[in-house]
């Protein structure tokens, strides 16, 4: 404001504002950025370059690896592990959808219906976080164990007959089946869906709902035409925050699944830390990154929102 004013009527008092700031001052933002950006460049960007180079190397652990531009690794890795890759996307996608279906009512409840219980409910959403997520995931082993109350109830209601027919469970068992893994993934990433949903719902002006009702919209129409579209930023960031980490997760598949439910994260982990086949592991990790980044870009374009996080 001051600068535009002084431009028209330069007075002696405002003179210092008009002068170009000294070089020392213009460099301030760069000094502020330098350490952090350097950290990200060295420990985030540079590692990706190293991984790219590792993925086109050949050799063995004993004789060492050399860059031989062996792109065949990508093709081999893909042909061998496409089932795990596809499974990861499928599981992560299902978990994201379930998170949206389960999380939306809770976020809606907290934002519009909770009244003075709002803070308590928010605490209850965040508090489970404080128990290490591995401990909580292990608890699912107890919940889904063969003779647990939950599994007995599902059996009594013949739910497992249907899910087994669909291939989600295995006979009377839930543990070590796709359903257990998806259940764990959904559980683990649910807060990442609820919090952005809540933030965007909370911003909606309550008067818009009243206006919709005044114009004779049924609650369902109000939701479809007013509430849901206005909550889209939350839906988009929530689904991203759920899908991206879920697609690379290997903890749930390892603790709650079996060899038939291995995800791409499990493959990358074992190739890197057990088999020590670094080129294949690096190639797989790049394939996963490329697929996720591609899907995210397409999704953001389609959803048409730029303001993430």
């Amino acid at each position: 404001m001051t600068t535009t004013l002084t431009k028209e009527a330069p007075g002696p008092v405002d003179e210092p504002v008009l002068r170009k700031p000294p070089t020392r001052k213009r460099l301030v933002p760069y000094w502020l950025l330098l350490p952090g950006i350097l950290w990200l460049l060295v420990f985030f960007a540079l590692p990706l370059v190293y991984q790219a180079s590792t993925s086109v190397q050949t050799g063995s652990l004993e004789q060492g690896f050399q860059v031989t531009w062996h792109f065949q690794t990508y093709l081999d890795a893909f042909t061998e592990y496409w089932p795990q890759l596809l499974r990861s996307l499928l599981y992560a996608g299902t978990a994201t959808l379930l998170c949206l279906l389960l999380g939306y009512p809770l976020a809606y409840l907290i934002a519009f219906k909770a009244g003075r219980w709002r803070n308590l409910l928010l605490v209850l959403v965040i508090a489970p976080f404080f128990t290490s997520f591995l401990i909580r995931t292990l608890a699912w082993k107890t919940i889904l164990a063969d003779d647990s109350l939950v599994v007995d109830a599902l059996n009594a209601l013949h739910v497992l007959d249907v899910t087994s027919w669909l291939g989600w469970t295995d006979g009377e068992r839930v543990l070590a089946t796709p359903m257990a893994v998806v259940c764990g993934l959904t559980y683990n990433f649910l807060p990442f869906m609820i919090l952005p949903l809540y933030t965007s719902l909370e911003r909606i002006d309550g008067r818009l709902h009243e206006a919709a009702q005044d114009l004779y919209a049924t609650p369902a129409t109000t939701f479809r035409k007013v509430t849901f579209p206005l909550s889209m930023p939350g839906v988009v960031s929530g689904t991203l925050l759920t899908f991206i980490p879920a697609s690379g997760d290997y903890v749930n598949a390892e603790l709650l699944g079996s060899t038939d439910t291995k995800m791409i994260g499990n493959v990358i982990q074992s190739q890197f830390l057990r088999v020590l086949d670094y080129p294949t592991a690096a190639a797989l990790s790049f394939i996963l990154m490329a697929i996720v980044l591609f899907m995210v870009t397409v999704y953001i374009r389609k959803a048409g929102t730029e303001d993430l996080v």
Partner: protein
């Protein structure tokens, strides 16, 4: 029937909440179990043994201390670097702003396993020994983006005229920063710090790749899932949960009191 339809959202929401809290309840209940064997997965008998001797398992409390130390240092590192970046991004216009924004966004938009694996290739190629330092480097790296986002949100809603006013009242740059800018930005920085601490303390995937033989608490839990889970793990989990709820409730009471005294 109309009652059901009217309260459908409430019922669905509460069911989701139950789904989210169920594992915590199980962890709590099983902290009082006396397991029959190495695995604490099925209920046997009530016992207070684990609560009486929470550190009775070899190496568990050591890993817990290590995780707390790591999280503290990672928080300090990420908060200092992240706050500087956030201020630069909000307060200054300069070239490469877009590129820097993407560089900060990317770590959050990438599956953790990709970052973990690429960092491992860097350390392997450089011949750096894996351990405490490599884990700390990794934790600062992935917490940084979250701190920047949290602080940025707060600084953006800050009125720059407050700082101008301070300068008009002859406050020096240091004084302005310490007495005006920092106190206003504090809630954002605190939120970022809390997030960084929680993320670092609970991180498994990146640590698993870059820790070498160093054992953090999540890694101890992971290992115990194969070897047999001691009841003490449930005790720690329950204690963490209870402590968090206590802190939040205490914070609520304090802010409520302040509000009351402010309005009175």
């Amino acid at each position: 029937m109309t009652w059901l339809r009217k309260n459908l959202v409430v019922i669905a929401g509460l069911l989701t909440l139950a789904y989210m809290i169920l594992p915590n309840v199980v962890v709590m209940v099983f902290s009082f179990n006396k397991p029959n064997g190495r695995f604490n997965y099925s209920w046997q008998q009530f016992s207070l043994d684990a609560w009486k001797d929470p550190c009775g398992v070899a190496d568990m409390c050591e890993s817990l201390t290590l995780s707390l130390q790591l999280a503290a240092w990672a928080t300090v590192g990420a908060v200092v670097l992240g706050t500087m970046i956030a201020f630069a991004l909000v307060r200054y216009r300069f070239r490469a702003r877009g590129a820097i924004n993407s560089l900060i966004f990317l770590p959050m938009a990438m599956p953790e396993v990709v970052m973990a694996a690429s960092l491992l290739t860097l350390f392997l190629n450089m011949g750096i020994e894996l351990g405490f330092w490599t884990v700390l480097i990794a934790h600062i790296m992935f917490c940084l983006s979250f701190v920047v986002t949290a602080v940025k949100a707060r600084v953006m809603s800050m009125d720059p005229r407050l700082e101008e006013a301070a300068r008009d009242l002859y406050a020096g740059p240091a004084q302005t920063f310490l007495r005006v800018t920092l106190p206003i930005a504090a809630p954002g920085i605190a939120a970022g710090a809390l997030l960084a601490f929680a993320l670092s303390f609970d991180d498994f995937i990146i640590t698993n790749f870059n820790a070498g033989s160093t054992v953090t608490f999540p890694m101890f839990v992971w290992g115990s899932a194969q070897r047999g889970t001691p009841v003490q793990i449930n005790v720690i989990g329950t204690a963490m949960f209870a402590l968090a709820v206590l802190i939040v409730v205490a914070g609520q009471i304090i802010t409520n009191r302040r509000k009351k005294t402010a309005t009175a």
